[in-house]
Symmetry: C2
Subunit: 332 residues, 2 copies
């Protein structure tokens, strides 16, 4: 079997990101300066599917690095309930690969009309989304032919990182951002982080994570669902205690995302509580330990995207043609 | 077998809510007037577990009824990553039954210090949370002895409704709010909305919903997990298209929450797409059709809480003593 499209596209990510960081260098400088003056009251993020997982990453990133609260849009408030929100003095980030989904466009238009400063993170620079917004950060991910976004999600996360680096006062992030492509190249060469055997016969499983690790868990879960037909549900390990933990009685397989950042100690303390209750956890570990903490989620996903088609194949699924899923989904 | 505690407590809800609406009448008047003057820029909601589902309900409620954007807290930003957010000019709603969970208290303190107007929706009026906040809306749910919150969630939703009714310009809501207890009484007497047979042998399932129906779906799912040991995952029907839909190939059982409000038509159009792909859906319907739309989610949950112990029993589980779950969970 030739290499699946999804692997080929995932492997493009480091190069695409290197280009993106260079091409957006000036645009993110300008954006950072503007936002330091503007001082938005809060950030409102619009996105669906994998873009919504990038939104979870962005929530932690911007709240932690800038101290500005981040909200996630419920697009149906506008598209279905017909309500216009007052987003005056907000920074609105619209994350979309195609820039064409009708409910995402409706949110962007509403944001603009109500006085928000609207920034699009978008792959298709000719999309109607770019005509609406105040600024565009092109993802430069190139064309997607695989079922399942990989490089476009990684390029979204890198764009968010560069944006946060220029806006926040995190000097380490600003200094190290250009090392990211090389770290992702190394992740590609690193050993796999999920053994396909672990999931070959699994019908359902839980994916735990906390903080940035929860954003990773959400993305890992949706990919296992969409490409491998596994009912994988993501849980914040904190929320898991409030109910999900009962699934342990059903001998459900539990995977746990380990991110080496400020959350590591307390996340592990919680995970040990689960282990004391008899759960055997399988850790999804970073390919490398000593790296800038904000890059860790990207290295995990980069490596996971290469393990993913192997998991699918072990289950008898063609990763380039999984049953039941379409590439681009438009939501009304 | 005597009636399970969880049913007895769920049946208390209408009476508790009648008392609550009367006792909080003046406090919500005052709160409504204050917020009309204050004009908060956005709302920031803090809560975990079922309280977080109340937060999902609150997001739709306040965005739709007041046009003010709503964010949901990621408590670990403060408790784990040690970051203080700037919540100046925000309305912060802290939803907590016990008012004692350390990470929830840390969020409330941070909000107060950074200049937010903080309102607690709390059951225990002697809890430390009440000492921190600007205003308290007591839930008046009484003591909880069952495993699994029922009346405390319903009283949270009713408190949110009364609050929104006084603050917004929705006159119908203000006029009809005092009819809510009677509608819930009728829901108790209505026929069951989920037949236990449907879920007796189910290992995992998906619960769909859109808008307010999604808030209901989240609560239904966590209860089926916690009390019945079913791996039930909630999906916004819009997000389901972006991945979850693949589970259809696994012949997963799909339940769909139907709420008769502005979302009904487009939600049904989406659901029909799933049906065309061969999914057989089981609808969770409102006990009554012609009621004020914002009350519909509460009538569904009121009735569901009485079906829930029957589903547990059909699976051989004692609903008052389900394996693997504890009543009150404190998160560090």
């Amino acid at each position: 079997m030739s290499e699946p499209l999804i692997s080929l596209e995932a492997k493009e990510a480091p190069k695409r990101i290197a280009e993106q960081l260079e091409e957006n260098d000036h645009a993110t400088d300008k954006l950072g300066s503007h936002l330091k003056l503007m001082k938005p009251r809060y950030i409102y993020i619009v996105g669906r599917g994998s873009s919504d997982h990038a939104g979870t990453f962005a929530k932690y990133l911007f709240e932690i690095e800038t101290g500005i609260p981040v909200a996630s849009a419920a697009p149906s408030v506008t598209s279905i309930y017909g309500k216009k929100l007052n987003l005056d003095k907000a920074l609105v980030l619209v994350i979309s690969q195609s820039g064409r989904s009708p409910d995402i466009l409706a949110q962007a238009e509403m944001a603009k009309q109500s006085g928000a400063f609207v920034v699009a993170l978008v792959n298709d620079e000719n999309s109607p989304l770019c005509d609406i917004t105040d600024a565009v950060l092109p993802l430069k991910a190139g064309e997607q032919n695989a079922i399942g976004a990989t490089k476009s999600l990684l390029t979204t996360l890198s764009a968010l990182l560069q944006f946060a680096a220029k806006w926040s006062s995190n000097k380490e992030l600003r200094r190290s951002i250009y090392d990211l492509p090389e770290l992702l190249e190394q992740s590609i060469k690193a050993p796999s982080i999920i053994q396909p055997e672990l999931l070959t016969d699994v019908k359902d499983c839980a994916i735990l994570g906390r903080g940035f690790g929860y954003a990773v868990a959400r993305e890992v879960a949706i990919k296992l669902v969409g490409l491998c037909g596994i009912h994988a549900e993501p849980f914040s390990s904190a929320e898991f205690l409030h109910g999900g933990v009962s699934l342990i009685e059903q001998n459900i397989t539990v995977l746990n995302t380990l991110i080496q950042d400020e959350s590591f100690k307390s996340h592990m303390a919680q995970v040990r509580q689960f282990e004391q209750r008899g759960v055997s956890l399988h850790h999804i570990k970073q390919p490398f330990k000593k790296i800038p903490p904000r890059f860790a989620p990207l290295t995990v996903l980069q490596r996971f995207y290469l393990d993913l088609p192997e998991i699918a194949k072990a289950r008898g699924i063609d990763p380039d043609n999984p049953p039941g899923i379409q590439k681009i989904t438009r939501t009304l």
